[in-house]
Assembly symmetry: C2
Homo-oligomer: 460 residues x 2
Amino acid sequence: MTPHASPDDNQSAPEPGERRQVSRRGVLGIAGAGLVALGASAATGYAAGRRDPEPAPASRSYPLTGEHQPGITTPAQDRLHFATFDLLTDDRDDVVALLRAWTAAADRMMRGLPAGELGPTSGPYDAPPDDTGETEDLDASHLTITVGFGPSFFTDADGAPRFGLDGRRPALLEDLPHFPADALEDARCGGDIAVQACADDPQVAVHAIRNLARLAFGTASVRWSQLGYGRTSTTSTSQSTPRNLFGFKDGTANVKAEEPEALEQHVWVQPEDAGRRPDDATSSDPAPDDAWLAGGSYLVARRIRMTIETWDRSSLREQETVTGRTKASGAPLSGGDEHTEPDFSRTGRDDVPLIDPASHVALAHPSANGGARLLRRGYNYTDGSDGLGRLDAGLFFLCYVRDPARQYVPMQNTLARDDLMSEYLRHTGSGLWAVPPGLPDGSTTGGADGAYLGQTLFET
Amino acid sequence: MTPHASPDDNQSAPEPGERRQVSRRGVLGIAGAGLVALGASAATGYAAGRRDPEPAPASRSYPLTGEHQPGITTPAQDRLHFATFDLLTDDRDDVVALLRAWTAAADRMMRGLPAGELGPTSGPYDAPPDDTGETEDLDASHLTITVGFGPSFFTDADGAPRFGLDGRRPALLEDLPHFPADALEDARCGGDIAVQACADDPQVAVHAIRNLARLAFGTASVRWSQLGYGRTSTTSTSQSTPRNLFGFKDGTANVKAEEPEALEQHVWVQPEDAGRRPDDATSSDPAPDDAWLAGGSYLVARRIRMTIETWDRSSLREQETVTGRTKASGAPLSGGDEHTEPDFSRTGRDDVPLIDPASHVALAHPSANGGARLLRRGYNYTDGSDGLGRLDAGLFFLCYVRDPARQYVPMQNTLARDDLMSEYLRHTGSGLWAVPPGLPDGSTTGGADGAYLGQTLFET
């Protein structure tokens, strides 16, 4: 996906808040400027008349359209609001209408526009506004909105199909298995639909989820949500490597946007994947009718609490041994710099490997996982404290994979069982969603004819 | 307080993350550069030798010293991590040692340095690092750290003095009264010490609280903490007005740094305030020995949850009536623009006042509160959802006042009882702390002789 702004624009992008040059009002065009003037001079009432529904994309704006959904290979933004929704309806038409409305609103918000009109322009003043307003003075802030469907979207608790989607559920879309030492909280797991909103301003990301929730009123409600404030992944070679709350660089070895072959191999569901079942499938059921997912991906979310206070009292030696990298530079303990490939064969005194075979870098490395790689897109989180004087803080792990059963599940089994780092981690939330492909270039959104996310599932 | 960076520097300040030009490493000077090189080339071990303990202040850095503590009139930064701590010790020397250690670490972190050495330079490699590391590549990001002492700092639950502070508790420092419709959660109230960390990067604010908590291990532990992601106040005329989660501009009528007389009148405790008791005091106790607080202030914190979903379904008319301002421009409903003084006498059709007398702007206005003004410094918060599909979101209200009994308490009683907005609010957390004055210009911090926050309380 190509941002409208050049990388150089990113380098000099303004800060959140008052330093913005281009605000939502700034991109509204002449009709919008009229509204501002009226709003400033009239104590009551808003101008009738429509804003331009398709303004030129503002700076710091990504398009919604493209072969794949935005927010996957997009350079990881700084802030996250992630939410899952449960559907409250049995009616397929309601679900399609919701997806249409969400797609149109996502399209607008990603352009830096309100989700709808802030003031009623064609309805009564006594109607609620069609946007909640708190980003009215902010720009698009590189907002991306990414939508996925969970196992419970397709089948109910008894395994019966929902919304007429008989046979459409991908066989790989199963609830993740129980991993060693999982400490999952039901209120942080699953959900019929997942929505990932990423932006460089948290107010923009929260606004996006809030307005989708508002549009869903009566059709779907928020199941759980999570804020992340610091990215822990690098999805483009143009980005520097951030640090997680262990204080170590994270995301050095990620699959990146500049590796098209690796993306096809590890991230995007391919046309030939249609009908595939997990390698351990024993069922005699027919292969799933899931060609609709080609060009999509699978999203894994794990809320991983770190035992911050214990970690902070461990020695630097312990921290580096557990991680397999130095804390200062992020170089593997086998030598070099951050981007040097770890050399697991290199030994030091007494022929002891410089990188512990049970370190995180050793066990997460593709060489220990049959060549499997993930596109990670995680965020640091801090959710207050836990009543025992400990911060509830850690990593909200997100990754996109072509095949969760081959790529994520075996790796997480290994890590949960053997990784030295596991002593300092507790997985408290979890979910898996199938992420449909993007909207074809040139699509228009809105109204009864607009293109919508998930259209291939319902209409092909 | 004067920032080291000019306002123009603020305008073009780089974004968080990879866009930073000046990192902590960048300000470490020659010794630091050596450490980087060593960290990059050596798999184990860190250079011996001290970093420059007093580097030139980096850009985006405020000084800790000054007549008043930083973080009050400082232009409100974009992000907040607020925490309160309870003391675990009965020993006055432990408390003074903690305040010395915190002051030295705050001084370093506000300069963009680690709280201590990332790698042990004089101790064993088998010791924990003296900084947790996650801001190693970030600059100071306008970090400010502000410390206050709650009622429970001075007296225990039985009213007996702690730490030999007999008679030193200001008479105005009392737990806030119960206000109408309070829905306080004990786990979000009070605390012996409050620490407000504000910065333009959330990772920097969280890092600051975390490292103070680490330094406090065994002496004090976190009681509760709160993240805020979007400022809702304007503390300087150089800032534009942000929006709260009702979607309205907030903080228009704040006391600002450019009003020195108003600050003396409404924010800073004056020398002549020493010994004062609340107007309704009936006790025959002697006047408190609290001259130590001159130059300080009182901090009120209120966690105010907004019933977002209800608000979002209310009409624009209702929202504007409740607020008393237009949503688009923030102008009072009596006309003009955002900065026009509201005219409560102006009427419309049928002689109905254009601004409802029970609106928020009417009841919070100084004219309805005996001229009382507050220096507000609040933040938007979103803490996930509540299990019923509703976002747990709202305003983390912070304000600084010279006299909480005259300025905050009567206003909040009026608002809680009569404000139309109260229908959409629930106060879930609360606290009051006495904020001591700043460190004299030219003070040095660190070691047994360093100046420390709270020194006037313990040593005058």
